[in-house]
């Protein structure tokens, strides 16, 4: 489904565009199966956001390539949708208007995109909030709008860049659970950037541990916890604790 091959990216100094300032990614290779939920985990500066932005087609790579269904990625595409860390909502549009944005760009007729958008707002539990402006709703609700907007385009791959980093801890757990439920209903592949170990274990089939300078993949950890994971307290499972300890060790080394 998704293949990343020997990807490298170097950032240059702002004031001297010929002087390299940071090797953000070095020789990254990764492949993701259809319907898989993969987390990119690492400290800040390890290039996980850079990686997801290259996969999204928002940033060119210096070396290597990204293939989606065998085709190289050079620009954003309709099969990949991004959920942003700071929500990325357009503040002058209502909740409904924001969800419609992607379909509107694509040229979907007004009536149809309204209908589709309402359906996805319903899915993320925001029925009745269509006419609110982003500043009128909480951060957690704003990110649900961001998720509905991405889902409305029925992407094959959902790219999520620390989507729950800007909401409080309680809302965060709630959103994680809802994300799993939505993911179970739709058949999308998810690439999820996070720096929370628990979040990555709870959500993913596989955790890709990265480290920084240069940004590399350190280890891939398969999460063999049973699904669905929202029933009972999976975080209390001894297996969960084992995984947590192992990943923490890997991050530390």
């Amino acid at each position: 489904m998704l293949q990343v091959r020997h990807l490298s990216k170097v950032f240059f100094e702002q004031n001297d565009p010929r002087k390299p300032g940071l090797v953000a990614l070095y020789d990254i290779s990764l492949s993701v199966r259809k319907n898989e939920f993969v987390s990119l985990l690492g400290p800040s500066g390890c290039g996980k956001t850079t990686l997801i932005r290259i996969v999204a087609g928002l940033l060119p790579a210096d070396r290597g390539e990204v293939l989606v269904n065998g085709k190289p990625v050079t620009s954003p595409g309709r099969e990949r949708c991004m959920v942003f860390q700071q929500f990325g909502l357009l503040p002058w549009r209502t909740v409904l208007g924001n969800v419609e944005f992607g379909l509107e760009i694509e040229g979907v007729a007004r009536e149809e995109r309204r209908e589709v958008s309402r359906k996805y707002l319903d899915l993320v539990g925001l029925k009745g909030f269509e006419d609110y402006y982003p500043h009128q709703i909480s951060g957690g609700m704003q990110q649900r709008v961001g998720i509905a907007r991405a889902l409305s385009k029925k992407p094959d791959i959902l790219l999520m860049d620390e989507p729950f980093g800007a909401v409080d801890a309680q809302t965060r757990e709630q959103l994680q659970e809802e994300l799993l439920k939505i993911w179970a209903k739709t058949d999308t592949t998810v690439i999820f950037v996070t720096h929370s170990i628990d979040e990555s274990i709870y959500l993913s089939d596989r955790v890709v541990v990265m480290h920084s300078r240069p940004g590399c993949i350190k280890e891939e950890v398969v999460v063999d916890l049973p699904r669905p994971r929202w029933e009972g307290d999976i975080k209390a499972d001894p297996r969960f604790a084992q995984l947590r300890a192992r990943i923490r060790e890997s991050l530390r080394a």
């Binding site: 928002l58 620009s75 954003p76 991004m82 990325g88 357009l90 760009i105 402006y133």
Partner: protein, 276 residues
Amino acid sequence: MAASLNNDDIIEELKLRREPAWSLSDHPNLIRAASVTVFLALWEIYGRRTDPLLLTYPTAVLRAALQLIWSGELLRQLLVSLASLAAGFGASLVLGVGLGLMMGRSRLAEAALEPHVNGLYATPQVALTPLLMMWFGLGFSVKVVIIFLFAFFPILINTASGVKNVSASMVEVGRAYMASERQVLLKVVFPAALPFIMAGVRLAVGRGLVGMIVAELFTAITGLGAMLTLYGNLFETAKMFVVIIVLGLLGVGLIQATQWLERRMARWKETERATQ
């Protein structure tokens, strides 16, 4: 404390409720009215005693107003003035927003245009009016050009800085959803910059009005400004006051209208900062 106790009960119990003492500062409009009445009365009395060539008085101004309205002269000149204002302002709006978007989006366009824009903006635009009158004559076109020149820069500069202020992440959202450069401009950059643009428009309306008056004062052929020059030369002070009052009302009306538009267009902005 009883659970049913509410604020009213507390106020009652503490005997807080009492009639506030009557205070002059609680009646601002009373003070304002008195101030204006006294002023008008003094003006009337003093004005009647002075040489009418120099100073007029309120009732004379009122009479002159009725006369100018009745003869249709005021309305005719007002319309002439407004036509040039609309044309000049419209041109500066279109060009200012267009070039501003360009300068804000493209660093090349910005670098190429900025020195000229800064140079022209620094020059007090009134100083250029004699030259413009040489080039464009004394008719409608010179008024339009002068109004354009007065109103253009606030719109241009505010649009450009508004566009530059649009966060890169907002533009990235557009790109991630496969918006073309045109769509990014229309659906992301323009609405995001709109509050800035409107602030520029508000400035430009006032300056355009000044430009209109200056142009008409100097060309002295048609429009409200020309009436000022004309009646100034004739020492008809009362009629000058009428024109000045009309211009004042026009200024207030235009500014109010833009502010209303500004509020309407930036409804989403109101408390945006609170969430950041």
